[in-house]
């Protein structure tokens, strides 16, 4: 089955906000253990709603693993929710 692992940790994120089709792109993630992840590609960004709250989900990769980030547009917080390794 899928190699997806639930992580659910609050992370620091460096993101760029531009004027192109992908308005917001996460570039770098720092996990609570200090490990840094350099994002090499944004796969897809899609909004989800939980009641009236909008959470933007970013599926990104560092070239080795894929990651799922959630940005809470109301609380302005980033969470790393899942990590997917490629050796499934």
């Amino acid at each position: 089955m899928d190699s997806r692992q639930e992580v659910n940790e609050r992370v620091d994120v460096v993101a760029t906000f531009g004027t192109g089709l992908d308005i917001c792109i996460p570039r770098k993630i720092r996990r609570p253990n200090g490990r840094e992840i350099d994002v090499t590609e944004l796969g897809l960004r899609h909004p989800t709603v939980y009641g009236k709250r909008t959470i933007h989900v970013f599926e990104v990769t560092d070239g080795g693993s894929d990651y799922r980030l959630a940005f809470d547009a109301e609380r302005l917080t980033w969470h790393l929710t899942h990590q997917m390794s490629r050796d499934a």
Binding site: M1, D2, H46, T48, G51, K52, S85, R86
Partner: protein, 410 residues
Amino acid sequence: MREEYNSARPMVMHIDLNSCFATIEQQARVGLRGRPIGIVNRNTENTAIVTASYEAKARGVKIGMRLKEARKLCPDIIGIESDPPKYRYVYHKLMEIMSDYSAHFRMKSIDEGVIDFALSPEAIAGRDLVEIGYEIKQRLRDEIGCAMRCNIGIAPNRFLAKTAAGLHKPDGLDVITHENLREVLGTLELQDLTGIAARNEHRLNAVGIYTPLEMLDADVSTLRLAFKSVVGEWWHQRLRGWEVDDVDYELKSCGRQYVLESPHLSRRQIVQRLHHLVESVGAKLRSQGKVARGVSIYVRTYDRGGWKGHELAGLPFFSDQAIWTMAERIFMSAPARGIKMISVTCYHLSDGLGNQLSLFGDQLAREQHVTLAVDEINGRYGPRTIHSADTLGTGIYVKAKIPFGSTRYL
């Protein structure tokens, strides 16, 4: 009844996202690109594949196959649990793109839509539709992602446009006109035509029709004899490129089914899951502004048997409580053992949450207000913020899945 082929300029475009959910997952998760994947609704080996990537299809994996069966053909297939919000997002993006070309577009399901250019502004309708088709393909890649692909078919009517969209998968673009109609139909089997499956094929065989070309050449009376209804006349027109499918169907029933996660659940646990389904069906019913008069329960058992029970009420209802009262009563007569799947359907639907309800007393009016208040809270704070205590804990099993067929709930 028109005997000639429709020779008008083809103005209907059918757009079909290729292996939609699998492609979207491959777009989102870069590590899945180029690999065989199967989208499943539950993270188990016994679950059926809803969509397979082209890499999996190339190795014989088919939709509906169980993941463990697929693994025999393709040992490295990766089962990915479906993620409906992601697919809804792509559906809305596709809709946005289509709406740029015509106000007369319609989504046929979560992964396909039709644009009728006949009523578009001249600046758009006057353009080469093949060029617009390639432009839409490019926009999908630019606005959603580089892995997105779609098939496009252009023809004088919806049926032939869909047929054209299926000719060269993946990423094809084909046009059917009155000039190449016979040539195209000559390359197809009867079951390649949308709407012709085994049963209809048998009907056609019974009147001596074995190929789409023979079906095209058949006269109306032969087709009417095959289908034993006006459907034969519709096929006669449809195959000639005349429009018969531009119709909206009214919502006649509203339901949901659930395959139990284990064969070892107690009766009490099954009833809890049934109650969860009832709450989900109630929310769907009210989201369409409908009330119902009937509830039916269908149960499928492990020995491939089926059981059905239903009840019709004198007055229309729409609250979860009203549906549950009937559903619980009906389910008491259901088989005691070996239940594999349960489904709840509300039928005899009519419009409006009904001012007439309040005419029947304070109790119904109160129930109406409470139900609407609960819906409002769930709308504001998230689904199932308020639900019956009985269904506490069932949410991890009975998750919201992809609504196939209808786009009403997207």
